[in-house]
């Protein structure tokens, strides 16, 4: 996993909480900074793709590791 500036552990949370928490965290970050989100909700894989597409924040990485889903999102 590449470098990131901030981390958000949304493990155990279900839709739509991982997205809402990520949005909130991103709001407090500067443009160009990278957020690492950890989630256990399998629906979050598609949801973060959709979130990135609609908000313009770039989804740089999305992968499953150790039973959890990891996302790197670059703030637009």
């Amino acid at each position: 996993m590449a470098d990131y500036d901030q981390e958000l552990d949304a493990s155990g949370l279900n839709c739509p909480l991982p997205i809402l928490r990520a949005k909130k965290t991103l709001s407090g970050m500067e443009s160009g900074k990278i957020l690492h989100v950890i989630a256990t909700d399998p629906g979050s894989v598609k949801d973060f793709e959709a979130f990135a597409k609609q908000t313009g924040n770039a989804l740089m990485e999305s992968k499953e590791q150790g039973g959890k889903f990891h996302f790197l999102i670059k703030k637009a």
Binding site: N14, L17, L20
Partner: protein
Amino acid sequence: MSAEKKLAIIATKGSLDWAYPPFILASTAAALGYETQIFFTFYGLQLLRKNLHLEVTPLGNPGMPMPMAMDKWFPVLLTALPGMQSMMTMMMKKKMKAKGVASIEELRSLCQEAEVKLIACQMTVDLFDLDTSEFIDGVEYGGAATFFEFAGETDICLYI
């Protein structure tokens, strides 16, 4: 980000299960950059109470999964027994918590934080003599024309 989209939702139901769709969709839409309004009318007004007492009922709902596959063998009439509704509600809340599903209170405050506009139908408030001091702060009051003023400009408009 694309030009701001708009979502309007009419929330008409006052049960625990049906409280979810309006708040989930509104909070998510707000996170995606939508300007969002929810218009609460009839039983949907229950979702605006400070102290929510929302319940689920298996009555008249053949699609509701029940513990121990009761929906398959338990006589429908017996689900009308006293205490069944509060028992089902308790079990549903427990399950939701175990699965990491947010509470309605949490989703509702996330909506408010994200500046989702909550509008209560004045006519139904009057009809049912509801005490608006029991509603959360930040609720606006209006009628059908108020709803259309925003709904007419939306990209998505849902009746729940």
